[in-house]
């Protein structure tokens, strides 16, 4: 394959206390592609995703083995600054979590604390346009972000992540709290973002994974059952469990 691997997940195990949530997962993430992680609830897909920008650091009982390389340097080595990791690998969460601040300040927050240069107004406008939210909010940038609808709030959170110009965006079931119309808008958005960003999306919506992703990994009980090009995984899966799951026979 000609694409380059930006994140290399190598034999990773993640534990919550005594419970093994992710078991020996090995998975490449290709640059400027969309990788979907699918699987039934509780299969460890969110846990795996959160390990990619060290968000599990905040969960005390959580421990991890194996290696994750980002541009060939170890994400978890002692010399790696987790704050720097999160600057370059952004995240969008399951439920929209805008700050109780204005729309403008939500977008400008990340760049301003990290001292990113350039014109802030332009940066905010660019991020909102990329997230397809600009036309709806351009006249009320100073309004509270909490006054937006759920779908708008989630696009605001995507814009907030984009304003940092990360290399990778991790999305943890970004549409699970949204209605179908908002979901469709965000899926359209993903296609556009693929031009410039690497995206890893966790979803339990099979159609969504099939529609938007280039590669798909199927997890069950923390074990990666199958990984491959999305079309192959959905049309001619190698594993029987995968076939049963993607055809909706369980899960």
């Amino acid at each position: 394959m000609s694409e380059s691997v930006i994140l290399d997940i190598d034999d990773v195990c993640i534990r919550y206390g005594d419970e093994l949530a992710v078991r020996n997962v090995t998975l490449p993430i290709y640059e400027k592609k969309i990788t979907a992680i699918i699987g039934p609830s509780g299969c460890g897909k969110s846990t795996l995703l959160r390990s990619l920008n060290r968000m599990n650091d905040f969960i005390h009982a959580c421990s991890q083995d194996g290696k994750i390389s980002f541009h060939e340097s170890d994400l978890y080595s002692n010399t790696t600054d987790p704050v720097e990791v999160r600057r370059r690998i952004g995240m969008v969460f399951q439920r929209p979590n805008p700050f109780p601040k204005s729309i403008y300040r939500n977008i400008a927050w990340g760049p301003s604390i990290n001292g990113l240069g350039g014109n802030m107004d332009e940066r905010v406008e660019r991020a909102l346009k990329q997230a397809a939210l600009w036309d709806e909010v351009k006249d009320r940038l100073q309004d509270s972000a909490l006054n937006l609808s759920g779908g708008q709030q989630q696009r605001l959170c995507i814009a907030r992540a984009l304003a940092m110009e990360p290399e990778i965006i991790l999305m943890d079931e970004p549409c699970s709290a949204l209605d179908p119309v908002s979901t469709a808008r965000i899926e359209d958005l993903l296609f556009e973002l693929k031009e410039n960003y690497t995206i890893v999306i966790v979803t339990h919506n099979m159609q969504q994974a099939a529609r938007v992703s280039d590669y798909t990994a199927f997890l069950e009980n923390g074990v990666m059952i199958e990984y491959g090009i999305t079309e192959d995984v959905f049309t001619r899966p190698e594993n029987k469990r995968t076939e049963e799951y993607v055809t909706g026979r369980f899960g």
Partner: protein, 297 residues
């Protein structure tokens, strides 16, 4: 066929008993307010309200008698400001530590310790101010008087500290974890997450905690009576002796002032002012708290 309803004597009488208990607290409040209002009215018949509120001499026990509240108000304010200077920054920092940095185990030790601090009788604080804080102040600032506002303010600050810390901690912990994660995911450090997302998001709860602390500092009696003295003094120098409104009430109550005299009525006039101030502060705190509860529901 349905049985005719039997009279339920026990249940009915219990209902009356519960109602009586509920009524006691309401009736007491109304009675206290009525007595305060009645006696204050009597006082204001003899002393014009302008002299009472804006007069700069408070000598109801000496000749010539004078009934200007400002020296007592100033004394109370000195204590409040000084106590806030101690309790607000330390209390908020303590809450930030408890809520954002401490491990569960550290919390489990620190929280009960704070509660013990809150349970110390206030007279102990007064004694502590007189025998420990004042001598300490004197070694640093020799001009410190034996009774002074500063040592009273410091111990009142320590006294309200647990309340400030505990209420601020509640306010910070009410900020959803998802906001913290959102901030971390943008490359923020713990310090930035705390100071620029969590504290601003919990600000109304923090503000309410401050107002309640001020309200308690104003009403605080024993420690300031012991430490700050009984000299009505219109000053902003914390090293001088002063008298707070509460300390004045103690002084006159302990004396043998005959009921019905003007001096006796000053007690109620001062108490009314005290009551109005703390009542309005508590109302403000409640309003702010309500607003803060609505944000995340």
């Amino acid at each position: 066929m349905m049985q005719p309803a039997k009279p339920r004597y026990l249940e009915n009488s219990l209902q009356v008993a519960f109602f009586m208990c509920a009524a006691i607290s309401t009736v007491t409040t109304v009675a206290v307010i009525s007595v305060l209002a009645f006696e204050t009215y009597g006082f204001l018949q003899q002393v014009p309200i302008t002299e009472f509120l804006f007069g700069t001499e408070w000598t109801p026990l000496l000749h010539p008698k004078s009934y200007g509240l400002l020296p007592l108000l100033a004394g109370t304010m000195l204590i409040v400001v000084g106590a806030s200077l101690v309790a607000v920054p330390v209390g908020l920092s303590c809450a930030i530590f408890l809520s954002e940095y401490a491990s569960e185990r550290t919390r489990d030790i620190l929280k009960p310790v704070l509660e013990i601090l809150a349970g110390i009788p206030t007279v102990v604080y007064g004694f502590f101010a007189l025998t420990f804080v004042t001598p300490l102040l004197k070694t640093v600032l020799p001009q410190t008087q034996v009774f002074n506002a500063a040592s009273g303010a410091i111990v009142v600050g320590i006294m309200v500290l647990p309340m400030v810390a505990s209420l601020c901690d509640d306010a910070l912990r009410a900020v959803p974890q998802s906001l913290r994660e959102g901030a971390y995911s943008l490359g923020a450090t713990s310090f930035e997450v705390t100071t620029r997302v969590v504290v601003p998001a919990g600000l109304s709860g923090i503000f309410a905690a401050f107002v309640l602390a001020i309200s308690r500092a104003i009403g605080e009696t024993m420690a300031v009576t012991l430490a700050a003295g009984a000299t009505p003094n219109l000053t902003i120098n914390p090293l001088e002796g002063i008298q707070t409104m509460t300390a004045y009430i103690v002084q006159v109550s302990l004396g043998d002032t005959p009921a019905g005299t003007l001096t006796y009525q000053t007690l109620f006039a001062v108490a009314s002012v005290l009551f109005l101030i703390t009542l309005s502060l508590n109302i403000i705190a409640n309003r702010v708290m309500k607003r803060f509860q609505e944000v995340y529901e």
